[in-house]
Amino acid sequence: MRDLILGAVAYDAKVVPIWDGFLAHFRAHGVPFDYVLYSNYERQVAAHLRGDVDVAWNSPLAWLQAQHAAAAAGRRAQAVAMRDTDRDLTSVILVRADRGPATIADLRGRRIGVGAGDSPQATLIPLGELAEAGVEVVPVRHDVLVGKHGDHVGGERDAVKALLAGEVDAACVIDGNRLAFAREGLLAPGAVRVVHQTAPYDHCNMTVLDDGHPAIARFVEVLLAMSYDDPAVRPLLDLEGLTRWLPGRTSGYAALERAVTRDGSLAAWLTTIGPR
């Protein structure tokens, strides 16, 4: 059997030890596993559709790209697994506590610090909710590592720095990053208020296409069986930011799908990947 190949995006140097660790674990459990790293999700999705990889560790936006591109080709994408930490995230819009808008309506016409232009959590979903509420704003992007769909936290950190410096009126971050930035000392307690919290949404998933590799079932089985109690596995789960793998679900991507449909970016990207 040829190797089952997983594609992942190298958004940070730690990605290499993570997938090297998974590689050893999967091979030890009878999955003929290997991995390939891409510098951006668009290239990974295209490679997946070409059949270069069998499983793609996709951002939520990459999932939508894969799903729509597969559908356009008469195929079907499936989310087979996700981290426990990929479920029910929210993003928050922060304003300075000492001044700044009191309600979401007050954000109208204001400068909103967002993350990278392709970040679902720090840009697309919060801006989408503002648009749906009829609140037109001036987004100020903090493009750290475009193509990585905001996986790198630098864009959110820069947005918060811009908020504290008074360069923007609000900043969008994942709920947990507010606490993380407090621990870093970037956000003093009480320095910011939460003016809006988005509805819950889901984050990454392991995507496969319908004519998948024969070892995919075994891959999913071994993945879901990874236990935090196993000292050999725990460092990998810590690095990847989860305590257990869960079956994939696709109910948490609707807000993002509306956002990238509304701004036209998904359709625009699909024209670049069509059959040629």
């Binding site: 928050v92 994942i174 709920d175 947990g176 507010r178 606490l179 919290q197 000292p231 725990r234 305590t243």
Partner: protein, 387 residues
């Protein structure tokens, strides 16, 4: 089981509020959290998600279930605080003795991990003694003391110091190589070796400073002297290396430093020799202590130690032993001048030094359990370079 209640009042999770929640969860059951910090509704679910804890709204509170993920499952104590185990596993690594060690910590390469090979019950006491006896070269030694001896006696002092520095450097580097391999579970031994190495650093310093007090150049370093020290350097076995270095070498050095204390032409040389000898006595004591324990647990070690002396003797047979330059310098140093009477006195003192060294080595070998005749024979095979 009814949930444990935690009321955070206005304490936010971004200012330490997670501690009461984590403490309550550590009891193993569900926790009901109330609070009115402005961002609690954002922070608490995010905090729970990252830890794998389920969270649900329950009226004006949140109900949190502990996570099934437990980092401390399978963790083990790295022995007891005040008792080293016989074979500490490499996976305990750098953890403090007695600490609870998470499973999955990297196994460090710590080959010196056998209590019989390294341990001495005296290590803690010797370490405390060493820590209390550290002296400051700047103030402990009368660097400005007057010296009235002839220029050539000063040259002899410089030659002896040059020889001492070379030997102190070996005494510093040989234990350093073993310290890097010692399992830190044997904390007291690690500390004692570390402070012993610091002692040697100070000896290198004061001998260098004494040598250059009145001279701009050092003396001679001979191939035979270095060959003798190189054979210590190459020894991979801790027991054999400490036997050759600490028991035989530093033991002999002790007699040499006393000799310098008694015959030095100036107060400064007397002081550096006296202070260094105090430190060396501890180094010898530790060597005797751990090798005595080791021999008691493994009597076959004695034969290996004896074989090591014989092997080293054979390896050094082609070298000249103590070089003539050092021997002559010691004679002139003890003579203090060029009169026949002085030279005769100096020469007799150096000859007596060899006897004192031999006596000391034989006594120490007997303390390690060698029969007196065997001790005498083995002592006679010790390197003529002293160390």
């Amino acid at each position: 089981m009814t949930p444990v209640d935690v009321d955070l009042a206005d304490l936010g999770l971004d200012e330490g509020g997670h501690l009461p929640v984590a403490r309550a969860l550590a009891r193993g059951g569900a926790v009901r959290v109330r609070g009115d910090a402005p961002t609690l509704a954002v922070d608490l679910p995010a905090w729970c998600r990252a830890r794998g804890c389920a969270i649900a709204r329950a009226g004006d509170a949140w109900l949190i279930e502990p996570s099934a993920a437990d980092r401390w499952r399978g963790a083990e104590r790295a022995g007891a605080i005040d008792a080293a185990v016989d074979h500490p596993p490499a996976r305990w690594g750098l953890a403090a003795r007695g600490a609870l060690v998470e499973a999955g910590a990297p196994a460090l390469d710590l080959p010196l991990a056998d209590k019989d090979a390294v341990w001495a019950d005296e290590a803690a006491r010797l370490y405390a003694q060493a820590a209390a006896a550290q002296w400051d070269p700047a103030t402990a030694i009368p660097w400005d003391a007057p010296a009235e001896h002839p220029a050539e006696v000063e040259d002899a002092v410089v030659q002896v110091m040059t020889y001492l520095i070379e030997n102190e450097t070996a005494a510093l580097l040989v234990p350093t190589r073993f310290l890097g391999k010692l399992h830190p579970h044997f904390r007291e031994v690690m500390q004692l070796l570390a402070i012993q190495i610091a002692d040697e650093a100070r000896h290198v310093e004061v001998f260098t400073r004494r040598a250059t007090l009145r001279r701009g150049a050092l003396g001679l370093s001979t191939a035979g002297g270095q060959a003798s020290l190189a054979s210590l350097f190459a020894e991979p076995d801790f027991a054999i290396a400490s036997f050759l270095l600490s028991v035989l070498g530093e033991g002999s050095f002790l007699a040499l430093l006393w000799f310098l204390r008694d015959h030095a032409p100036d107060a400064c040389t007397r002081a550096v020799a006296t202070l260094a000898a105090q430190d060396e006595a501890r180094h010898v004591a530790f060597g005797l202590a751990h090798l005595g324990r080791h021999c008691a647990h493994d009597p076959s070690l004695r034969d290996r130690l004896a074989a090591a002396i014989e092997r080293r003797h054979a390896a050094l047979a082609h070298t000249s032993g103590l070089n003539a330059e050092v021997f002559d310098a010691l004679v002139l140093l003890a003579a203090g001048g060029w009169t026949s009477a002085a030279l005769r006195r100096g020469h007799a003192a150096v000859v007596a030094l060899a006897t004192t060294m031999d006596d000391g080595r034989r006594q120490r070998l007997v303390r390690l359990g060698f029969a007196p005749e065997r001790a005498a024979a083995l002592s006679g095979l010790h390197t003529r370079n002293f160390m």
